[in-house]
Symmetry: D2
Subunit: 181 residues, 4 copies
C-alpha cells in the first residue's frame, strides 16, 4: 500500500534535515546578499531570506535536497555499497551527480542562476565553504552543491524581481515577467 | 546610446509576431488540453489558456521566441549568411540550436515539462505539425520547437497546480510548492 | 583515509548491478534499434550494442547509474528515511529527481538525445516498461529513467555517426563532427 | 530545392568567422591553460589548443557559434527587428538566450564544464573580457558566452583525460571513460 506524502510533510522534513546538517536559512540568505547587493544597493537581508524561502517551497528543489542529504548521511555512516561509498565519501571532483542533481533546480531560474551556481561552486562562499571543509567524519558531497543551487536560484529571483520593480516605478505597470509562476 | 526595453513592449511584440507567424494562444492551449486532460478530467480549455498566458509572461521565454521567430523570418527572406541560411532553411535534424533555445525555458518547469517537450517534438501534435509541414516558402525551424516548449511548460504548470489543489482540498492548506514564483 | 576508485572497478560494478537489477545490454540495444532503424535501414543490432557499450563507458553515466540503483535498492529494502522512502517507493510522478539525474547524461549527446529521452519516458518501450510495471516488491523509480537515458544517448550517437558516414561516402573525408571526443 | 551542407563547409565557416570576429584558437587555449594548469602542472599550451580544436569539431557547438555570430553581426549592422535589436545591442543582463545557446554545448562535457562556464561568465577572463568590453560599434553579446562555452568544455575534457591518464600510468590500462565518443 502506497501513501501519498503531503507537501507540508516534505517542507517540514527539508527544514528539519537542513537544521540537523548544520545549515540555517540565514546562512543561505547571506550568500544571496553577497551576490546581489552589488547590483541592488537597497537590498535588505530580509528580502534575501524571503527569496530563499520561496525557492525552498519549490517541489523539485525539496526533493533534490531530501535525496542529497540522504546520500550524504548514508555515506557518513558507511551504509552505501561500494564503489559508491568511496566516491561519495571522497567528494571526487569528477563524480558529477552532486552537480547534476543541484543543476536541475538552478535551470528553472534562468541563466543568471546557472552562472551564479558555477561561480559559487568554484569560489565556495560562506556556508558552502564551511560544509566543503568540515573536519572529520562529516560528508557534505551533495549538500554543498544543493546549497549553492538554492542560493543561486534565490539570487536570480531577486535580479528578475528588481528589474520588474524598476519598470513598475517607471510607470510601466506590474508585469511579473520574472515569475515562472 | 542604449535604450532599455520595457517588459510591456516585449510582451506586445511576442504576441504580435506569434500572430503574424500564424500561431494563436488557442492553438497552444489545445495541445496543453490534449496533454493534461487524461490526468485531470475537470480540466477546462480556459485553464489551459491561462497557463499558456502565464508561461508567455516569463522573460526568458519571451526573448527565446523573439530570437527564434527572427531567425525563421530572416531565413525565409534568404537574409542569413551561408552556411547558416541552408541549415535553417532545411530544418536539418542534427542542427540542434532550435531545440537548445527551446529547452532553456522548458528546464524551468521541471522534469514533466522536459519529457512532454520530447514527446511533442517527436509526435508533432496540432499547430506544431501544421508549422512543421507548412507548404512553400515558409520557414518554422525554430518556432515549432518553441511552441512545443510553451505547451510543455504550460502542461507541467497545470500538473503541479492540480496536485497543489488536490492537497488543499484534502485539508493540507495552501502550499504553492509548484510555483517557481 | 580515502581511496581512489579505478574506472575499471566502476565499470565492473555498473555491469554487475545492471545484471542484478534485471537489465541486459541486449535489452537496451533493442530500444536503440527500434528508435534508429526507421532512419537507417542498414542498422544492425550489433551497432546498437556497440553504441550502448560506448555510452556506458562515460564516467558521469556510470556514476548516475550507481546512484540510481542504490536508491532503488535501498527503497526496496525500506532503508530510506521518511518521507523520501515513500516518495521513491511510490514512483511519484512529480518527484523529478529520477529524471534530473538521468537528464544530466542525456544532455551530453545533443538535442536528439533529449527528445528521444522525453519520448521513451512517456511511451516506456521494451525493458523500460517491464521495469516500470514490475510486480510486487521491486522499486525501479530511478532505473527506468536511467535506462531511457542510456538508450536515448546511444540512439543520438548512432544518428550523428550515420550522418558522418554518409558524408565520408560522399567523398567529404572523415570528419567525426558528432564525437564529443 | 534544399542542399545538404557538408561538415567541412561548416568547420571552415566557423574558423573563418571566428577570425573575422577577432578570436583566435590561441586566445581560447590561453583560458583553458589558466583554468587547468593549477590542477595539472605538466599541462602544455599545445594540449589546450588540441582540446579546443576537438571541442570545435562537435556539430552542435559549430552550429551554436554560427547562430551566435550571425545575431551579433546583424545587431552590429542594425538589421534585427525591434525590440530584439535593442536587447542584443545592449547585452541586457536578463536577456538569457546568449547563455542558453552557449549552455547547450557545455552540458555535453559534464558538470565541471558547467561550473567552469559559470565562473568564466562571471569573471570574464582573457579574450572573453576583451570581447565584452570592445569599444565602439562592436556587438559580442552571443560570442563572449560561446567562447566561455568552448573554453569550459575544453577544460573539462582535459580534466577527464588527465584522470584517465593517471589511471593508465597506475597500470589500470586504457579506459577512456571520459570520452562521449
Amino acid at each position: 500500500m502506497r501513501r501519498q506524502v503531503s507537501s507540508q510533510e516534505i517542507s517540514d522534513a527539508v527544514r528539519r534535515k537542513l537544521h540537523e546538517r548544520g545549515v540555517s536559512m540565514h546562512d543561505i540568505a547571506e550568500i544571496v546578499y553577497e551576490m546581489q547587493s552589488p547590483y541592488n544597493p537597497d537590498l535588505r537581508m530580509e528580502d534575501c531570506l524571503d527569496s530563499v524561502l520561496m525557492v525552498l517551497r519549490k517541489r523539485e528543489m525539496q526533493h533534490a535536497l531530501l535525496v542529497g542529504m540522504e546520500l550524504d548521511t548514508l555515506a557518513e555512516k558507511g551504509l552505501l555499497s561500494e564503489p559508491l561509498q568511496s566516491l561519495v565519501q571522497a567528494d571526487e571532483p569528477l563524480f558529477g551527480c552532486d552537480e547534476t542533481l543541484a543543476l536541475g533546480s538552478v535551470l528553472g531560474y534562468g541563466s543568471i542562476a546557472v552562472t551564479t551556481f558555477g561561480h559559487l561552486d568554484k569560489e565556495k562562499t560562506g556556508i558552502i565553504r564551511r560544509l566543503d571543509t568540515k573536519a572529520g567524519s562529516h560528508v557534505h558531497t551533495f549538500l554543498d552543491d544543493l546549497i549553492a543551487s538554492v542560493a543561486a536560484s534565490a539570487s536570480s529571483r531577486i535580479a528578475h524581481r528588481f528589474r520588474d520593480k524598476e519598470e513598475e516605478d517607471n510607470g510601466n505597470g506590474p508585469n511579473h515577467a520574472a515569475s515562472a509562476g
